[in-house]
Symmetry: D2
Subunit: 338 residues, 4 copies
């Protein structure tokens, strides 16, 4: 951490600041420039509150040099973390496809979709039981009953399941869930992160709606600081001023994350844009960017679907996407888990 | 709600869509334009999932005409809601000042600050017991012990208190807290909103980091749908690309909210910018914009403070701000609660 | 265009509005809902000032249904526009690679880079003569002399050239330039767009720093309304709150643009992130997203480069990227122009 | 400027970098930390291309410590710049009100509005002759004829005028214009900034749609580097994800600018929100934030206006705003110029 001290300071203020820094167990390098004095803090600065320092009268600016995340940091853990779920590996040169419906609706639906996506190449089944909805009047998911249905589909197909948790008070209900998903809106629900970390279960951590990559890794750090090690990051788009898409998928985040952290990273092209016809191009783009996997929404119930044209990727389209992915994977030195 | 249907649709698809809409208990007005057909939905469309409709093959665009919030909507509740807390009123022509330290540190600190801000004109005491921090290694607040200290300060001064909750599992601990604060990061923690709504206690609902005004009001709606009526909205800045300030205070939101909703709205100028020297100008700006009150961080412990210059507004500066506010209030037809 | 009129209006105001709309040569469909009246405008609404209408007292909301762009609109021109430059085709199933240095520095540099990128597969040479720089103290490019050097490289290699224009007063100097580039900061320099349109030359139109896709297409429309037809759109990242990258590449824009417009679209992965080590993954991602081409910065002067490690993609790395692209192109049904 | 060098570098690369820095006329302080080496650059770093340095293989991060603007920097020019236009002063404790219609339409309109706003307290007349419009099909302003009408209104009322320029080729036409306005979309039209700077005329420089405060000051620096000294900054809202308002007015920018620069800063509340009913609260908010003035759109032609309710502030409403401002000014230690 580097602290730039204003020229027009009192010596006493500077001495107090230096004393305080040393009191935090850090060493201080002082260098005097033309317009300011620069303090270089040496040691573990992760406990220093950068906003507090910035707010001091004599401080012109503070810059963090080391990333504030440690457990998640590639520098201290150079090798890729491989998250293994029911024999399927996330990370390294493995490529995984998670698929399933947005919401679990009934047994027939979830089992049929599970079988269809398994046949087409998915290894993990997704499905929403608890649904975070902007409106209290919208369908909130089948909740506990939805979890039961997911577990039945797991039993029928042998596929591990991933589903979203929305409150620490539900953790016991998730004991047979293979991967606990933390949704975008809960990425900084710190109490939930801690509780989920204590379960030591694999976690799929979605990026928050308007969070930086660093904040995202700090949320992974919350889980890891409680003992959770198996974290899969999931890019799902960030909020921008562009109205055509629900969110703007940030694919630069993929190669950046691979530098910054050893954790695997997958992409959710379905939620990012909110437009099913963008799922294929964005899936291929994600593979090109180097993602370790994809999470794709697939629906298979044309009879009850709202309109013949259907509002989501159906199994045939999903199969077609998987086929294209298979041709691409060797270019990015990955192999799909079968 | 208005649905714009593509020209190149099949008649059967359109009929299916119309049937589905009618099945939701709504009427449909159909008008055929040159390049598209427009369906006008008449009735209560708040249960319609706009994203689902948008994703249909034959739909070009969907626009909501009525706001999706009802309990919070000024249209259905034209009179200002007055939230009364310990005899102090939020809303209408009342102006309230909430003040106190960022974090509760110890009894002496919180009681001294409470007395100082009360003397200067604050009517409600704020103080963080549970602190949402980006880093798991940063101070997380005194938690339960912090709540106890706040209650002691309340006893000593008679000031009602407001403090942030971070998990539904803590609700019992908040039974003597006068106003429960929902922080920016929890604005869309829907399970928490519901549980807090059930307590029927006054709630101070901060705007999320990157949330629209409509989403904010939908979060108020979550609380109201469970019986909570006394909601104070709190603007605290939104995330933009500007790096000089932590967030960009959105003061246009104040007059807009006063049109859209009957709920009172206050501004937190301390968190918005992260710079204590901006607190006074942004406080006066908030009054000018028509806010029903302010929430200001005040610190009073120069001895233990990091540096003589101090990192936060001290009671003398707070008094000065209150004096300026008092001169301004008649211009905006408000009176400060004493 | 749909105008939602407030319930609490005076009849006279509504009649005035309807009269005004008809005076603009449009027809009006009126439908009365529970809480508002909806006016559907039939005819060419592209001249209607939506902000003016929105600002009327009796108007609650206005929504455009038809896109305001016409010449650039896929609906009216269903076939792909093929922009041909020196025998090389942009659009359809063609894939083009534009490459060259950020700035033209001297004859040796530009000619050597040109030869190297041509050998590796580039068909168009890029190079900055006029450089838009945030600071007036930074190098502003070789300007006229830079144009001369580019033309010399064109002569030596036979490659058509693309370079940025920064003022309408420079247009005469660009008469031998094959593709005139409009930079991100000039995307809404409307006087420049008109003048460039009058030249009828091919234009590479970069997306503005914080512009929507619709605004971008409206800028293409400015060029087209003056007779320019051969426009190549270039996505180069948009501004968000993420500080790790200079900009956030918006790859969803690629499939969206292919629906909305018949114009070809390429991606500049070099400027988007500002990090040369992200160029390869973002190039492959762009191909996956369906881009019609790439524009890549290549540097070849290790002796004068600042450091051995070099600050930009060198020809060897560029060759490697092109090889990977060649494997990918059949998956997206494109072929590289040779 | 501080350069953080990666630990895993080659010594030769570091030496090359240091040599290059010294070749730019700067001194280098080197300090070795645990995970990185920090180079402190001493001297005038404004010519250093920070993006170039950041892109080097061995560089982990670069941070600017000194602001890159010099002429506009409060540090080197501690006293407020007072821009005097026709006897009216911008800056210091002066408060100016600029008012007039969005577009100049005809002689009667502009002269009548001018008289009305002058009577109510405005000292400078605004009016658009050249109008930057998103659509080429929308009204582009009366252009030259509009300038003539503005000059006639100036003659009639004695009010100095401010109006927007859109191309360097129009500069001669602006010779009798008192203040040349650079619009938001042209804030980084660097060729235009230079040409306008050469005229040495007062300039009203609007903030770009999505530009940082630092970029804004660098654009002022462009004008100043060519000899222009009399620059008035104008905050007009920035682009965010909030759809209710056209832009989000950034009032924190006002107190920040007053620290960073000696130039006066005014606010345009009319364009920021696009909603005339927000003009009064945002005007008072701007005064509270410490602005040196306001620029307000006023319309006075109810007969030809689209609807009785009128789409813009009319003179009566403007008078009312000015009266409220007058009560507020003493609180912020300013006096209105009469």
């Amino acid at each position: 951490m580097i602290i730039i001290v204003k020229k027009e300071r009192e010596e006493k203020q500077l001495n107090n600041l230096i004393k305080w820094i040393k009191g935090q167990g850090l060493e201080v390098d002082i260098s005097n420039g033309h317009h300011s004095t620069v303090l270089g803090l040496v040691g573990d600065t992760s406990k220093i509150d950068i906003d507090l320092v910035r707010s001091l009268d004599i401080v012109e600016n503070v810059k963090r040099i080391q990333e504030p995340f440690k457990c998640a940091n590639r520098k201290f853990h150079p090798d890729d973390t491989i998250v293994e779920v029911g024999g399927h590996k996330f990370g390294g040169d493995n490529f995984q496809i998670i698929a399933g419906p947005c919401s679990v609706e009934n047994e027939k639906q979830i089992v049929e979709v599970a079988k269809a996506v398994k046949k087409a190449g998915a290894t993990i089944l997704r499905g929403g039981a608890y649904k975070p909805r902007t409106s209290p009047y919208a369908f909130q998911g089948l909740r506990e009953a939805g979890l039961d249905l997911l577990l039945r589909a797991k039993q029928e197909t042998g596929m591990p399941i991933v589903t979203e948790i929305m409150s620490a008070s539900h953790i016991d209900l998730f004991k047979d869930v293979d991967i606990i998903q933390i949704g975008a809106r809960d990425m900084q629900n710190f109490e939930l992160l801690k509780e989920v970390g204590k379960t030591k279960k694999p976690v799929l951590l979605k990026r928050g709606l308007a969070n930086t990559i660093q904040e995202w890794l700090m949320s992974a750090e919350y889980i890891m600081s409680e003992g959770g090690k198996d974290i899969i990051l999931c890019e799902r788009g960030i909020r921008t001023f562009e109205p055509y898409t629900r969110n703007t998928l940030d694919l630069s985040a993929i190669p950046l994350l691979k530098e910054l952290t050893h954790l695997p990273v997958v992409v959710d092209p379905s939620h990012a844009s909110g437009l099913s016809r963008l799922v294929k191009p964005l899936s291929l783009a994600s593979v090109g960017a180097g993602a370790h996997g994809l999470m794709i929404e697939v629906h298979n119930d044309p009879k009850n679907a709202l309109c013949d044209g259907a509002q989501s990727i159906v199994p045939e389209q999903f199969e077609d996407i998987v086929k294209s992915i298979d041709v691409m994977l060797p270019i990015v030195n990955k192999k799909r888990d079968l």
